[in-house]
């Protein structure tokens, strides 16, 4: 029995002592706090222009008379999709949103989604392009993307809030982290799938790397990249409720309120509004993507 006590590690997992663990957490947290106290303001200043832009855009959407905004959105959907069905659906969805008193929140959500998507594209596409050019870069970035996509977003909420407090910018960062991986992955994939012969032809005519990228790789990868953008938008929308936890206003907040107060109808209505926006974005961007590559399907004539 004595012997068995000595080999306790056989029955219980040998673990760090509780006090050491506490010490470790505390030390890391303290250092991080010190870091955020020292640099938090600088980082905030860095994001300032972005915040200003976001606020300006939000105000623009809210302060412009609703019927102008409505007309512009419907027009954009029409230009992108050229589909009467999708355009009419958009109109009906927006009217219902307005009628049920969710117009302002919807505009807030719309503005953060648009900005997050734009940011994800601006940051994600170059990363995807880099990945497509080198297997080493791809091998290095892929695990990071895995972490970004699978790490519960509440976890990286913590350091971001510690650093920047609550508000629009931390919300934006959280959403972008979560929504960016698809655009990176699909840019990379799309470029790697470009027909080798067409690329060879570009080489044979003496195209430089940049010329190959602009004339051949990006245009041929575009349908795949569009699918990535579509996914990015969907994921950004899925984060709206989480982002409202750290003070991002919009359709997420009433949902949050509904959860704490058990307002079923309020939750449902706002949830449906999110779904409606998602469907509008999805259908419009997909049919735009299809239209872009219609020349490929053209029958032999």
């Amino acid at each position: 029995m004595d012997w068995f006590d000595n080999v306790k590690w056989l029955t219980d997992f040998p673990q760090i002592g509780r006090s050491s663990l506490r010490l470790m957490s505390r030390t890391i947290d303290q250092h991080y706090r010190a870091f955020s106290r020292a640099y938090g303001d600088d980082i905030e200043a860095f994001f300032r222009p972005l915040l200003d832009f976001l606020l300006w855009f939000e105000k623009l959407l809210i302060n412009t008379p609703w019927w102008i905004v409505l007309a512009v959105i419907v027009a954009i959907v029409w230009i992108a999709s050229r589909s009467a069905k999708i355009t009419a659906g958009t109109l009906i969805a927006l009217v219902l949103i307005g009628v049920f008193g969710m117009w302002e929140d919807t505009m807030r959500t719309l503005s953060i989604i648009v900005v997050c998507t734009a940011l994800s594209i601006i940051l994600g596409m170059p990363i995807g392009i880099l990945m497509s050019r080198s297997n080493k870069v791809q091998a290095a970035i892929n695990p990071i993307l895995d972490v970004m996509q699978t790490m519960p977003s509440f976890v990286y909420l913590i350091p971001i809030v510690m650093l920047l407090g609550i508000g629009l910018i931390p919300g934006l960062i959280v959403v972008v982290i979560y929504a960016m991986p698809p655009i990176i992955r699909l840019t990379n994939l799309g470029i790697r799938l470009v027909d080798k012969e067409v690329l060879e032809a570009a080489n044979a005519f003496g195209a430089s790397s940049w010329q190959k990228l602009v004339h051949v790789q990006m245009p041929l990868a575009l349908p795949t990249i569009m699918a990535g953008i579509n996914q990015t938008i969907m994921m950004a929308l899925a984060m709206v409720v989480v982002a409202s936890l750290i003070g991002v206003r919009g359709l997420g907040q009433p949902v949050l309120q509904a959860i704490t107060n058990q307002y079923f109808t309020q939750g449902l209505l706002n949830g449906l509004a999110i779904v409606a926006i998602a469907i509008v974005f999805d259908r419009a961007s997909q049919s735009y993507g299809k239209r872009l590559q219609r020349h490929r399907e053209a029958a032999h004539g």
Binding site: N203, A204, A298
Partner: protein
């Protein structure tokens, strides 16, 4: 044939694999493709290639699938890096070019037509044809003008604004050809350019190429696995097998004196009447000038015997004389009997004298 050399390939070796340079010597000492693969997992692509390609003429490289044709032609514009060897074009070794020089060389000196067309699917016909010029930075109006000219020359006028997917295979390859011609490169590489096309369309395209070539006099390297195509197009033909050249020469030389059984089996079924030329079967008197008999029909040197026979039977005569197109003097005599004999009887190689063999060139 004017014998100025446009492209000179010397001692070219290509081994596919991560450590290719290490195995060249073994291959030089005679290791075969199979042995190399078994012992080192490297694939022997090309072995000891030496070809001098004449300027302004069509050099055909022929061989079965996997014989290394695509590998060879891609060395000429260095889409594939060699393991060892030299490719000299106009005094310059292509394999020694810097990246920048190589890009320039590809923009101005060589252009290429691909087996599966390799057009840009998202661009219209005119934008595809302008592609090479666009890369070079030619001003837009000039691009359009040049592209429109070549689209017209390959018979696609009216299709400028179509997308490749809207065209048939033959039309797509016309676009490919126009794209290659538009850069005004003096060397044209064509890798099985017509192999993906139906037989009739293919004949059409061969004719298009021959007609253009009569006027343009480019140096063309044409890859094919089809002997008929090789004989129709090739001023000179090189036959490739398992990465090695097994025979080089004119179509006549290959057909009349195949170097080995491999080539014999290739040429067995060929229509000899369309290959053998009148000067090969004509006779010249031992002494004195060539005097055509009355009623004899004139045929130009270089005419194939099938055509000569047709001329003779149209005129209902059995005699013809061969004319030198430059001097317009008769240089030899032909009889229908000699033509028939040449058409049906395979000449055994050893039945020809060395002089006769030389005359085949």
């Amino acid at each position: 044939m004017a014998d100025e050399i446009a492209i000179s390939i010397r001692d070219l070796y290509k081994i596919f694999g991560p450590n290719d340079k290490a195995h060249v010597d073994a291959v030089r000492r005679g290791m075969t493709k199979t042995e190399l693969l078994a012992e080192t997992q490297h694939v022997l692509g090309l072995k000891d290639i030496n070809i001098d390609m004449p300027k302004g003429a069509i050099q055909v490289v022929m061989g079965l699938s996997g014989s290394g044709k695509s590998t060879l032609i891609r060395h000429i514009n260095r889409l594939i890096e060699p393991t060892a060897g030299e490719i000299v074009i106009g005094e310059e070794d292509v394999l020694a070019m810097s990246d920048k020089r190589l890009r320039d060389f590809r923009r101005h000196t060589v252009s290429m037509v691909f087996q599966r067309f390799a057009l840009l699917p998202h661009k219209t016909v005119i934008d595809n044809v302008s592609y090479g010029l666009n890369i070079t930075g030619v001003p837009k109006p000039k691009q359009r003008e040049t592209a429109a000219y070549w689209i017209d020359r390959v018979g696609l006028a009216g299709y400028e604004d179509n997308y490749p997917a809207q065209l048939s295979g033959g039309m797509q390859q016309r676009v490919g050809l126009a794209r290659a011609l538009a850069t005004d490169a003096e060397i044209l590489l064509m890798d099985e350019a017509f192999s993906a096309l139906d037989p009739l369309i293919r004949m059409d395209m061969q004719q298009v190429l021959l007609d253009l070539q009569k006027e343009l006099k480019k140096t063309i390297v044409f890859i094919t696995h089809d002997l008929d195509e090789a004989l129709r197009l090739g001023d000179r033909i090189a036959v490739l097998r398992d990465g090695e050249i097994v025979q080089q020469g004119t179509g006549q030389q290959i057909v009349l004196t195949p170097a080995d059984d491999y080539i014999s089996s290739f040429v067995k079924e060929v229509n000899r009447g369309r290959v053998i030329r009148v000067e090969t079967v004509m006779t010249t008197p031992d002494e004195g000038p060539v005097v055509p008999e009355p009623g004899s029909v004139p045929v130009r040197r270089g005419t194939v015997i099938e055509e000569a026979a047709k001329k003779m039977s149209d005129k209902e005569v059995t005699r013809a004389h061969v004319i030198d197109p430059d001097t317009r003097q008769p240089i030899g005599l032909l009889t229908m009997r000699a033509i028939m004999a040449a058409m049906v009887m395979p000449l055994p190689a050893d039945a020809l004298t060395d002089e006769q063999i030389e005359a085949l060139a």
